[in-house]
Symmetry: C2
């Protein structure tokens, strides 16, 4: 057996293995342990407390999905809040939308941002944009006194263990909802339907308590547990975008041209989830 | 590191790791090495030449997709040919369709069938059905003299290395096409879009030479490389089923009720593939 394999094995006893070429970075913050290594398969890889967070080669699967589905559903998304997402991939995709005037990005751990700026230039490239306000603080506190401010809120959190645990909580979601403008949309990552089905079930139970319209959408994510990931479309006054033909064609075309995944047909197709995902999230 | 991990690492340097509880079976045939082990995460697992083929816990992702998309697109699928698929999962799903009168299943390696009958009863359960004719022979030879016989042909092959190599070949596909009745549909598995993109590109180049209508459809498959898999819808006279509302509602409802994945909304949604998959398969 290759001694230089990185493993992320779930409590259920399976996971990903990646041949590691070289360790590049390792630093413990008050919040978590951040490591970066290089691999032939995925380029640079960042882990938090040993769990896979981002790789140069497959990050597009995650970032295109969390961003373009809500952004192209919203009619005119100007003010955006991003929670977590210290690597910058979500911000990079947001900046493709010319409607965006301002992005607040609230990441608790500066070490993640610094590691992304140094080792993931293709991911973090938007973090220094003049439209982006990077706040290094606890998002749970940040959203407590915000009201009627944002068109779209994206919650790009870690799993509901460690520093991410406060982001899977009814008070937190009520605060996020209060921070939305009318016509606002919230999308959190909602875990792996196959590998983390119990996390996912609890997350949707919570989201359905807070928002009127809630629907999971799913897609591949090779380096996350089970290779299959989900995000939750949440809004009180925007309908689930089940009809791609209602998406603004001109705006969608501009985004499509820059994407490895996103296209207009896929915009509604991602909401056609397997029966077991419907059951988990009802 | 747990010494009892099964690994399948791709030539690119990444892959799956599964904690193995117990080895159950190991046998070398003239074609390949078959192994079965038990794991907490996936129940029983079968590998061929060390490569993941089927697990009890996630096989439904693959088998529902290869079967129900072509079967519910076809108006009246009576006679079916299955190539490979010795584990029986494809046959089990086919037998859910009451239109089916006869299934020829051509598997080259009896060892796979025997291992499935012994260690995968929930997968192989249809192999002894009276509608099923199991032929232990080389499918490349089998299809050479067949004409106007089958409504649907499913090619549930291994990768284009080892015993499966003859199944990725223009002569073979021309023979399969001749074996189809008018209105016939062929669906081969077409590899992993992310982890085996070059295999996939070559497969679609081949399929487009032989068939008039060809389209990839994709879905999650946790234990296969990259966790993301594809199948190819091929026909000369049946259109790609891009409109779910055209699928026979009554037939689809019967199937849906038995499935963990398949539903009518998903039937067309699976053809809305990411931009990079369109590019690979054009």
């Amino acid at each position: 057996m290759n001694e230089n394999l990185y493993h992320e094995i779930t409590p259920e006893g399976f996971g990903i293995a990646i041949e590691k070429d070289k360790d590049l970075f390792s630093k413990k913050s008050p919040y978590q342990q951040t490591d970066v290594f290089h691999s032939r398969a995925f380029g640079n890889v960042l882990t938090l407390d040993g769990l896979m967070m981002v790789t140069e080669r497959d990050e597009f699967f995650y970032h295109e999905m969390i961003v373009h589905i809500p952004m192209l559903t919203h009619k005119n998304p100007k003010n955006i809040l991003v929670i977590g997402a210290g690597d910058g991939g979500t911000v990079r995709e947001l900046l493709k939308h010319k409607e965006v005037e301002h992005i607040d990005m609230v990441e608790i751990d500066r070490v993640v941002i610094d590691a992304a700026l140094e080792f993931f230039p293709s991911v973090s490239c938007g973090l220094k944009d003049k439209k982006v306000n990077v706040l290094v603080e606890d998002a749970v506190e940040f959203v407590k006194n915000k009201e009627n401010l944002y068109d779209v809120v994206l919650i790009d959190s870690t799993d509901p263990i460690g520093p991410g645990v406060g982001l899977f909580n009814e008070d937190f979601y009520n605060n996020v909802k209060r921070a939305l403008k009318p016509g606002g949309i919230v999308v959190p990552q909602t875990e792996g339907p196959f590998a983390q089905s119990e996390n996912m079930r609890l997350t949707y139970k919570l989201l359905r308590k807070v928002f009127k319209n809630v629907a999971p959408y799913t897609g591949p994510m090779p380096t996350y547990p089970g290779g299959y990931w989900s995000w939750g479309f949440c809004s009180d006054d925007v309908e689930i975008p089940l009809d791609s033909s209602k998406i603004d064609e001109k705006r969608a075309q501009i985004i499509e041209k820059t994407c490895k995944i996103y296209n207009r047909a896929l915009h509604s197709a991602v909401f056609a989830v397997p029966n077991f995902v419907k059951e988990l999230t009802k």
